[in-house]
């Protein structure tokens, strides 16, 4: 029997998808697991995540400058004024569902706010707090 190429392609795509599309809880798990490689006692903390989010880290902006202190509400880009939909998954189900998007914005925004990449532990903490927010 010959299988048409597009069927094969569909199967190949289905095999890749689970690693591309994901849920916020899966991202939290993955970040926490990565953090435990450096610190075996690591457990994600929403309180630490909140503090990290609101603090400035040497630059002009904090995460809250654009996403506000209440991530269940819409934010506003601090430089351009453009509206940003809420970061909390409870308020915006599109959040933390695409690995490419999550990776890209952590890279850019941590660089803008802290002048460096965020650690896996910081990402896990932030996500724990965002998941607790309404």
């Amino acid at each position: 029997m010959r299988i048409p190429p597009f069927v094969l392609a569909a199967f190949a795509l289905a095999a890749v998808l689970p690693t591309v599309a994901a849920t916020p809880a899966q991202f939290l798990d993955a970040f926490a697991r990565e953090a435990r490689q450096a610190d075996t006692a690591f457990a994600a903390s929403a309180a630490r995540g909140r503090a990290f989010f609101s603090a400035s880290h040497g630059g002009e902006w904090s995460c809250a400058s654009c996403h506000t202190e209440k991530p269940g509400t819409p934010g506003r880009h601090a430089a351009t004024g453009k509206a940003i939909s809420p970061l909390a998954p409870a308020a915006n189900p599109d959040r933390f569902t695409s690995a490419g998007k999550v990776e890209k914005w952590f890279r850019r925004n941590c660089n803008d706010v802290a002048g460096r990449a965020c650690t896996a532990g910081e990402k896990a903490d932030v996500l724990a707090w965002l998941l607790a927010a309404k």
């Binding site: 880009h77 430089a79 351009t80 004024g81 453009k82 890279r107 850019r108 925004n109 660089n111 803008d112």
Partner: protein
């Protein structure tokens, strides 16, 4: 009259009417000129501000903008090389033919081009730009209510705080 001829004529009229309708839906963009569509551009270049219409800068200017995305007007807007090349090719294809350089160097800002300054200089009082909901001319959507759809036609302009004339 020949009934077949009539049917054909009717069909032709419908086809023309449909084409006009389709045209009127797609052709408003950008003060009457159509903004071409490219989902990756719209998404990547429209997340921090409206996606500025490609025809408002020259290909040289777009190349300069796209060469410095990691330090883009105070923000990190870096892209994977493949996405960057794809978007740059789209911008080059649809760039304006006007020269948008100053002192021999390509301008990076639409808002500093001669065309933009001339079009806006006498139209907007300085105090409008100090309003927190306007902030800068780069915030096209503050006055052009259709900016997020690429529409800059005159009838869609609303200056916050009223339009002094």
């Amino acid at each position: 009259m020949n009934p077949l001829r009539n049917t054909l004529r009717l069909a032709a009229m419908y086809a023309i009417a449909a084409a006009c309708l389709a045209h009127s839906f797609s052709a408003h963009a950008d003060g009457g000129k159509r903004v071409p569509d490219h989902p990756a551009w719209k998404q990547e270049c429209g997340s921090c501000h409206v996606a500025y219409p490609p025809r408002l800068l020259s290909a040289d200017s777009w190349r300069a903008v796209m060469a410095g995305l990691d330090r883009h007007f105070g923000a990190d807007a870096s892209l994977e090389p493949a996405a960057r090349d794809d978007i740059l090719a789209f911008l080059e294809r649809n760039a304006g033919r006007r020269d948008t350089s100053a002192g021999g160097r390509p301008l990076l800002r639409v808002t500093q081009t001669r065309w933009f300054v001339k079009e806006h200089r006498d139209e907007v009082p300085a105090e409008v730009l100090r309003r927190p909901d306007v902030k800068s001319f780069a915030n096209c959507g503050a006055c052009h209510s259709g900016a997020d759809r690429g529409v800059y036609a005159e009838r869609d302009i609303r200056i916050p705080g009223g339009r002094p004339r």
